[in-house]
Amino acid sequence: MVLLKLAGALLIITSTTLLGFSLAYKKRERLKELGYLQMAFQMLISEISYTASPLPLAFEGIGEKIKEPVSQLFIKAAREMEKCRGDGMGEIWKEAVEDFFPHSSLRERDKELILSVSSFLGVSDKVHQEKQLKLLMHQLKEIEKEARVSLGRSERMCKYLGVLGGLMLVILLL
């Protein structure tokens, strides 16, 4: 009986610990992805202002250079754009974002920001595109900064909470 209880307790503690660690990992991943997104949009800015290559081409290039899972967003959008579906950038981008999100560690509020891109992307001249993208970069940078500041604390907290939470649960159940 005691042995069974011990095994149960161990199981609980391991799982909550893992949960804590995975939460912490997700936070770290989000930071990385925010970085990749900025890289991607930086590339887009130069594609637009220097070579004026159309979005499908630019997106494909970005998709090849950026790491997973952010690359998926651009590859999917490029593929959809080439399909001649007869609808707007808004729909295509939204689909790509929805497709990409389950694989990503980004948060809901990051999603809003990424979705907003389709409201200006490709519908105006170079100068305006550049301005809008720079604004977006700025916003992404702000989010990244916030995330970085909170990461140190929350990462440790997640890990501790995982272990301690497990312990507490075990004590309560005993």
Partner: protein
């Protein structure tokens, strides 16, 4: 032929709604469409030989405005995005000029609100009118007139001016002449070795270039300079590509005339087209008048659509001052 081109090259670039409607149209109608006209809030219209017509949401030709499908803002927006590969910024120059060329060489005219900077159009926004001209290659269109513009027994041609009102097959004829002259012609009665042709395609209509690559068959000995102003393009061609014939569309200004003169001085023949309905009309424009006074063009071909698109009304021999070919007067409009 035309229907296939339309379905393959043009339809995919329209908004989904419009795609659906046009797919429902009868093949007979689609075969004859020359232009698809979209105007925001106005009926969807096709231009044909016989004039234009309105189309209903079921893809039928209708007479009443109330039955026609009205093009929505969404249609315009999506079509424009599609046409520009979702990247208007990549087409700034085209928006400024008011047209862009899509794969297949079809020309899309755009009209909206002009943004002016320092007295010149910088670009257009709020596009409310789109006109898609289906470019049709009619291989063989030039065969009939070809023999009138080559010199007997020589691989050389006379400088020729094609005179025609809009929509009468001027560019189609020009394009096919380019192809025949460039490839050569192997019929027993008029054997003709191909010659080098420099094509100055200011409006991307003859070769229908997309990203610089001609989409239409313009022959094996043809060099194309795409989207280049005529006078500059002609000089560039003469200097760099040693053409035997220069071909260009729609000349008219004094600048064009001077460039043509320059080309002739270099011993290069010029085949060009001009808007007009008869030879006399051309004299009203100073550039063309200058060329006519100097009797630069040895052959003049007048087109109309009196019987069908591309009816040859007259082929004029300037040296002998008489018509080589004339359509029967009774049948003229």
């Amino acid at each position: 032929m035309s229907k296939k081109i339309l379905e393959k090259q043009v339809l995919p670039l329209l908004s989904l709604n419009l795609q659906k409607i046009i797919k429902k149209c009868s093949p007979f109608l689609l075969e004859r469409v020359q232009e698809i006209r979209l105007r925001e809030g106005k009926p969807l219209m096709f231009s044909l030989d016989r004039g234009d017509l309105m189309v209903s949401i079921r893809g039928e030709e209708v007479d009443r405005l109330s039955n026609a499908y009205l093009v929505t803002r969404q249609d315009m927006h999506n079509t424009l995005q599609s046409l520009s590969s979702y990247s208007l910024y990549a087409f700034e120059e085209e928006l400024k000029n008011g047209y862009l060329t899509i794969p297949g060489g079809h020309r899309v005219g755009l009209a909206g609100k002009a943004v002016i900077s320092q007295g010149a159009i910088k670009l257009q926004k709020y596009i409310t009118g789109i006109n898609i001209r289906i470019s049709r290659e009619v291989l063989g269109a030039g065969e009939k007139v070809f023999k009138y513009i080559v010199r007997d027994g020589e691989p050389r041609v006379y400088s020729t001016l094609i005179i025609s009102p809009p929509q009468c097959g001027k560019t189609t004829l020009l394009r096919d002449l380019v192809r025949i002259l460039s490839d050569g012609f192997e019929r027993m009665d008029i054997p003709f070795r191909g010659i080098k042709i420099g094509l100055v395609d200011e409006r991307s209509e003859i070769a229908g270039s997309f990203e610089g690559l001609p989409q239409n068959n313009i022959g094996i000995r043809t060099d194309v300079i795409d989207a280049c102003p005529k006078s500059q393009g002609m000089m560039l061609m003469i200097r760099s590509m040693s053409p035997q014939v220069l071909v260009t569309d729609e000349i008219g200004s004094m600048e064009d005339a001077l460039a043509v003169e320059e080309a002739l001085k270099c011993g290069v023949a010029v085949i060009a087209a001009a808007h007009g309905s008869c030879r006399e009309e051309l004299r009203e424009r100073p550039g063309l008048k200058r060329l006519m006074d100097q009797r630069v063009f040895k052959r003049m071909i007048v087109l109309s659509n009196s019987r069908r698109v591309g009816t040859v009304e007259e082929i004029w021999d300037e040296d002998r001052g008489r018509a080589l070919l004339q359509s029967p007067p009774g049948k003229k409009l």
